[in-house]
Amino acid sequence: MTFENAETLSQNKEALSACKALLYQLADDDFLLAYRGSEWLGLAPHIEEDVAFSSISQDTMGHAVMFYQLLEELGEGEADRISHLRTPAEFRNAILLEMKNGEGSYVEKPDYDWAFAVVRNLFYDYAKMIRLQSLKSSSYEPLAHMARRIISEEYYHLMHWEMWFRQLMTSTPEARERMEQAIRRVWSDFGGVLTTGPEGKQIAAAGLMESEEVLTERWIQKVSAILNETGFQPEGEPGMKSGNGRTGEHTEDLTEALAILSEVYRKDPAAQW
């Protein structure tokens, strides 16, 4: 089963709705994490990292835009409206990705946690890469095509966060302590990234992406490798401590983030900006 374009996909109602569900997850995940990344600008540990991290966030925002454009092609409305006018409950990103970088705001008294940034980004990029590899043979060809384009940028992101992870896990006791704390925190909510939501079965059945179980297994392998290498293992399975964003459950952090992201657009959504 393959769907060459939006038109052929639209003839299969079940596949169409599964595809939309998947695209909202992919787009919203990237949109929120790119936003959190952009809040770090000027605040990273050194200027070289400011440059590198802002380049990564920009790529990630670019990926979100591509996914929103696919949704636009599927009749969900203009990409700008989809990204700026939905209510928090309509977002399908994992809660882990909407969480603040730390205390304070991005323009006033930020007390951001670099260990959390490193672990959240690395673990997410592993999951994203695994999804993208699977999407390369998606039944929806425009999505498969897009996955191939994104993968080439993802290699660099992964290398970047792996380097940070290894360095901070094997340096001072303080860094180690902060990293272990960050791993526990990310672990306790990473189930929310791995789940493909209530539509997961239909997504796999339509051949859009492999099943949640298969992808989770691959992710565990990938993460275990770097954890073993650096000698740390969080307890239990990745959890969903803060809730399941794939069902529209979210925190105040998302409400605040969306208010900022759409502040100007909402002044006049009909205007040209």
Binding site: S38, L41, H46, Q58, E108, P110, T172, E174, Q272
Partner: protein, 321 residues
């Protein structure tokens, strides 16, 4: 090579040779002999330029997530990344110059935090609306292109080469700004008035950006020395006039009003005559008493403190290796 030749020369002779090279339009490189005041002038200029790029990303950072559309979000993210890249590039040029003095990047950062190292007046200003994000990219970057272009042939090679890359990127920034401005100028009543308000507020700061006309306005100035050493080629006033030539017609053509009723081109003098901004205000701003000076500096200072453990961790690995 040059070092070898000049080893046994007296200071005066070295200086004479150096000035001959400057006069001949030769490029001075990092390892070449140079008089102390040339080195000092470069360090002052380039470290100020570097921190201005870094601090300059902060007002736009305020608007990065708020940029109204996906397209604008991507464009402004690309721009602030470039600005950080400019800061990095220039920091490296400054660091090389400081090495013989036993100083490094940490000194630049500490000087910034203590207020000894100043950054451009425009980055002390508030940017309360999206119109400001447009004005910054269009006119502040436009003004920066004018000042930086004059040093593209700077006598100091590493600075000239850094500027070549920087100016090429600045052109895209100004285009991005112009595109925001045009959308607002052709937009709704509310968009137009937001834009006019931004221009009105930024106008004095834009005039100040080039610095005072002569030193009577603010006391000591390094312009003459920098010209003698061919680090720069034009005076502050030359640059401001260039800015007027380029932007006044454009500002008028999109129907905006310049908040200076007296401004006009004097055919006889061959220059723009305009109302002077308040240079006392300028002095206050650049010495760290502008509307946003403290907030932006503390943003930088606090985060530098918050991530100290990361730099310590990296340094500890450096020692092992």
């Amino acid at each position: 090579m040059v070092l070898e030749l000049t080893r046994d020369l007296s200071y005066e002779e070295k200086y004479e040779r150096f000035m001959e090279r400057i006069e001949a339009g030769e490029r001075i490189e990092a390892d070449d002999w140079m008089p102390d005041d040339y080195r000092e002038a470069l360090i002052r200029l380039i470290s100020m330029h570097a921190v201005s790029e870094i601090m300059g990303a902060l007002p736009e950072k305020e608007w990065t997530p708020k940029a109204p559309t996906l397209h604008r979000k991507l464009a402004i993210m690309a721009k602030v990344q470039d600005e950080m890249g400019h800061g990095q590039l220039l920091l490296r040029v400054a660091e090389d110059l400081m090495k013989p003095l036993g100083k490094n990047r940490e000194d630049i950062m500490q000087d910034l935090f203590s207020g000894r190292l100043k950054f451009h007046n425009v980055f002390h200003m508030k940017a309360p609306t999206w119109g400001d994000a447009g004005i910054i990219a269009w006119l502040v970057d436009g003004a920066a292109i004018i000042t930086q272009s004059m040093s593209l042939n700077s006598s100091y090679g590493p600075y000239a080469r850094a500027l070549q890359r920087i100016c090429a990127e600045e052109v895209f920034h100004a285009q991005h700004g112009e595109s925001i401005i045009l959308a607002l100028a052709e937009g709704t009543e509310e968009q137009r008035s937001m834009l006019q308000k931004s221009l009105t507020e930024w106008w004095p700061a834009l005039l100040m950006f080039f610095g005072p006309k002569s030193k009577e306005n603010v006391g000591k100035s390094h312009v003459n020395k920098n010209i003698k050493y061919k680090i720069r080629t034009k005076t502050n006033e030359d640059l401001r006039q260039e800015f007027f030539n380029k932007y006044i017609p454009r500002i008028k053509s999109i129907g905006l009003e310049i908040p200076d009723k007296t401004i006009h081109f004097d055919e006889e003098k061959g220059e723009w005559v305009y109302e002077q901004p308040d240079w006392n205000e300028f002095k206050k701003i650049v010495t760290g008493h502008g509307p946003m000076s403290e907030q932006r500096l503390s943003l930088r200072r606090d985060s530098y403190q918050n991530t100290r453990w990361v730099r310590d961790a990296l340094a500890s690995r450096g020692k092992e290796a």
